[in-house]
Amino acid sequence: MTFEMGEETREVQGTWDISTYKYLIDGAGMKLLVDSMKEKKIRGIKCPQCETVYVPGPTFCRKCYIDIDEVVEIGETGVVMSYAVEMADVRGNPLEEFRLTAMIKLDGADTWIIGTISGMDWHDARIGMRVKAFWVDEPVGSLADIDRFEAI
C-alpha cells in the first residue's frame, strides 16, 4: 500500500474555558492532616479491622470497605520506597537545578507520600534510605509546612 499525504486542511485555534468547574477540597482526611501540620504533627486514620494506617486518611478502609475514624499520630521520619530525579520540567525544558523527589513511607503509616529531599547528592540516593521531615519555622496548616526531607 502506498500513501501520499494530501493537501493540508485548514485549522483554527480554539480553547476550552474550564474556569467554571468546582472542586471540593476538604474531603477525606485532608483537613485532619493540614490541621495537625499546624502543630508540626502528622495525623492519619487507622482501620480498626485490618490496622492499615492511611495518611491522609480516607473516610473508609479501602481493604475492608468499612467506615473508619480512629485518628493516629505518625512519625516525621520514614523510608524511601522509590525516588526520581527531575531533570526537566513538565514541558520537557531542562532544569538548571535537579530535584530529588521520593515516595516516602512515614513510620507508622502504610501509605506513601511524595516529598522533596534536600542536602544530598542525588547519586547517593537509594531505595530503603531513611529520611526525616524538616518543618518551616511558623506552620500555618498547609502542606507547605514541611519544608523538605533530609537523609538521616
Binding site: M1, F3, M5, G6, E8, T9, E11, G14, W16, Y21, Y23, L24, I25, G27, A28, G29, M30, V34, G44, T52, Y54, V55, P56, G57, P58, R62, M81, S82, Y83, A84, V85, E86, M87, A88, D89, V90, R91, G92, P94, F98, R99, T101, M103, A109, D110, T111, W112, I113, I114, G115, T116, W122, I127, A133, S142, L143, A144, D145, I146, R148
Partner: protein, 412 residues
C-alpha cells in the same frame, strides 16, 4: 459462551505526528475502510459497533455520535468505551462480549487518537485535576519541588518512580532500559504502521537527555495520529465469512487503588507492584486453558508508554520469573526471532495514538498468528498462543487478551 475470533484488521495508512490532510472522522474512516477491504465485508455484514478514544484529548466530546456516518454505524447498536490507556483493548473486549454472549454475530471495534489536534498534557491533567486542586489549595507548590506532595515532572515523573522501583526489585540496570528501547525502535523500523521508524542503537538512546532519572527522553513514547479497527465474529460467521482468523481465547481486566498521584486518600500501592496485571492475566490464561504462560505463550505485545515497562510486564504477566526479564533481553530471547518475541511491532513506545494503543497490541498478535504482517517484522516461528496487554488509568488498570491459532478453553 461462544468462540469468537478476530477476522480482520484495518489501520490508517500511516501513524504519524500530524495528519494535517484529514480531519478526525476522515482519518478514522480510513481504518474502517481498510478493515472492510481486508475482510471483503461490507457495512451490511456488521451487527454492532464499539468505539474508543481518550476523553478531551482533542477538545471534543462524543465523537462516536457526530462521526456516526463516517463509522458506517447508522441504524446499528453503537457504544463508546473510554478507560484511559486501556481504551483500545476495552473496546475490543466490549466487541468480544457482544459476540461471546450470543447477542450479535459480527461486531466492529473502532479505536483512534488524533493527538495533533489537542493537548495530551491537558487531557492528562484533567484526570488529576481534583487531586491537583486539593494540593494547590492546601499550600502545595505542585511543580516547585518543595516539601510534601511534589508531582515529579508530569507523567514521565510518575513513571520514573515506577522505573526506579522496578530496577531496584528486579536487579536490572538503567542500561537494560536503553537496550530494550533500542530493540523496540529497531523493530518499529520494520513496521509500516509504526510511527518512529528508525533503526536505533543503544548509543542513540544514551545520547538523549534524562527527563527524570532513571528515564531519558529516548525511553518515552511519541504522540501519534492514527486509527485501528478490528472485526470480530462468532465461530459460525468465521466459517462463512473469513479466510483467516485469530481466536480470542481469554480476556481479563482488573484494577487496584490508584498507584500514582493519589494524595487525597493516601497512596498505598507501589507503582511497580501492578497486582492487577497478575489478576487480569491469570483470568485470561485460565480462560484460554494456559497453565504455564512462560512455556505456552509464543509472543507478547506489552503496553509500554515507557521502555522499562516491557520488561516489567513480562514478569508481572508470568512470562518469566521476577528479575528474569532483563536476563532474557541480554540472551536475545525477546528479539523477533527469539524464544519470546516481545513488541515485534515496536510497541506503544514507538507508536502511540492513545485510544488505539491498547488495540494495536491484540491486532498485532492477530496478524502475527494469521501470518498477515506487512513489512519485515513477521515472527518466523508458528504462533499458537499470544498474549497482549493494556495499561493505564492512575497506573492501576490492566487489560489482557490471549489469542490463539485455534479455539482453546480452560476453567476460566
Amino acid at each position: 459462551m461462544r468462540n469468537v475470533g478476530i477476522i480482520g484488521v484495518g489501520y490508517t495508512p500511516v501513524f504519524v505526528s500530524k495528519r494535517k490532510d484529514v480531519n478526525i472522522p476522515e482519518m478514522i474512516s480510513e481504518a474502517v475502510d481498510a478493515a472492510f477491504r481486508n475482510t471483503k465485508l461490507t457495512p451490511d455484514d456488521i451487527d454492532a459497533i464499539t468505539f474508543g478514544n481518550m476523553q478531551t484529548f482533542e477538545g471534543v466530546n462524543m465523537p462516536h455520535l457526530w462521526a456516526a456516518d463516517h463509522m458506517r454505524a447508522l441504524d446499528k447498536p453503537y457504544m463508546r468505551i473510554a478507560t484511559g490507556g486501556t481504551t483500545g483493548m476495552s473496546t475490543l473486549h466490549s466487541a468480544y462480549y457482544h459476540v461471546a454472549s450470543g447477542l450479535h454475530d459480527v461486531v466492529m471495534a473502532i479505536t483512534w487518537e488524533k493527538q495533533s489536534e489537542g493537548d495530551s498534557q491537558v487531557g492528562l491533567s484533567g484526570i488529576v485535576m481534583p487531586e491537583a486542586m486539593v494540593m494547590v489549595q492546601h499550600g502545595m507548590d505542585l511543580f516547585g519541588g518543595k516539601g510534601m506532595g511534589a508531582m515529579g515532572g508530569g507523567s514521565t515523573g510518575a513513571a520514573a518512580y515506577q522505573a526506579m522501583s522496578y530496577l531496584h526489585h528486579s536487579g536490572a540496570d538503567p542500561e537494560h532500559i536503553d537496550k530494550m528501547a533500542a530493540l523496540e525502535r529497531s523493530n518499529a523500523a520494520l513496521n509500516p504502521y509504526a510511527h518512529l521508524r528508525k533503526k536505533t542503537t543503544v548509543a542513540d538512546i544514551q545520547a538523549t537527555p534524562f527527563v527524570s532519572w532513571p528515564l531519558r527522553f529516548g525511553h518515552t513514547c511519541p504522540t501519534s495520529d492514527g486509527a485501528t479497527v478490528a472485526i470480530v465474529a462468532s465461530e459460525e460467521m468465521v466459517e462463512k465469512l473469513a479466510d483467516s482468523v485469530a481466536w480470542i481465547n481469554g480476556v481479563g481486566c482488573a484494577t487496584s487503588d490508584p498507584a500514582t498521584v493519589n494524595f487525597i486518600e493516601g497512596q498505598i500501592t507501589d507503582p511497580a507492584e501492578q497486582e492487577p496485571a497478575r489478576m487480569a492475566s491469570s483470568k485470561a490464561y485460565a480462560m484460554a486453558g494456559i497453565k504455564d504462560p512462560s512455556k505456552e505463550i509464543d509472543m507478547a505485545e506489552m503496553y509500554n508508554g515507557f521502555a522499562h515497562q516491557s520488561l516489567m510486564w513480562l514478569e508481572k504477566l508470568g512470562l518469566c520469573k521476577e528479575g528474569e526479564a532483563h536476563k532474557m533481553l541480554d540472551a536475545g530471547a525477546l528479539n523477533i526471532d527469539g524464544e519470546l518475541p516481545t513488541n515485534a511491532s515496536g510497541g506503544v513506545f514507538s507508536t502511540n495514538a492513545i485510544g488505539a494503543s491498547a488495540m494495536n497490541r491484540p491486532t498485532e498478535c492477530a496478524l502475527q498468528i494469521m501470518r498477515k504482517i506487512e513489512g519485515g517484522h513477521q515472527i518466523p516461528k508458528k504462533i499458537k498462543n499470544a498474549v497482549s496487554h493494556g495499561w493505564g488509568g492512575m497506573f492501576q488498570y490492566v487489560t489482557v487478551t490471549v489469542l490463539g491459532d485455534e479455539p482453546r478453553h480452560g476453567q476460566g
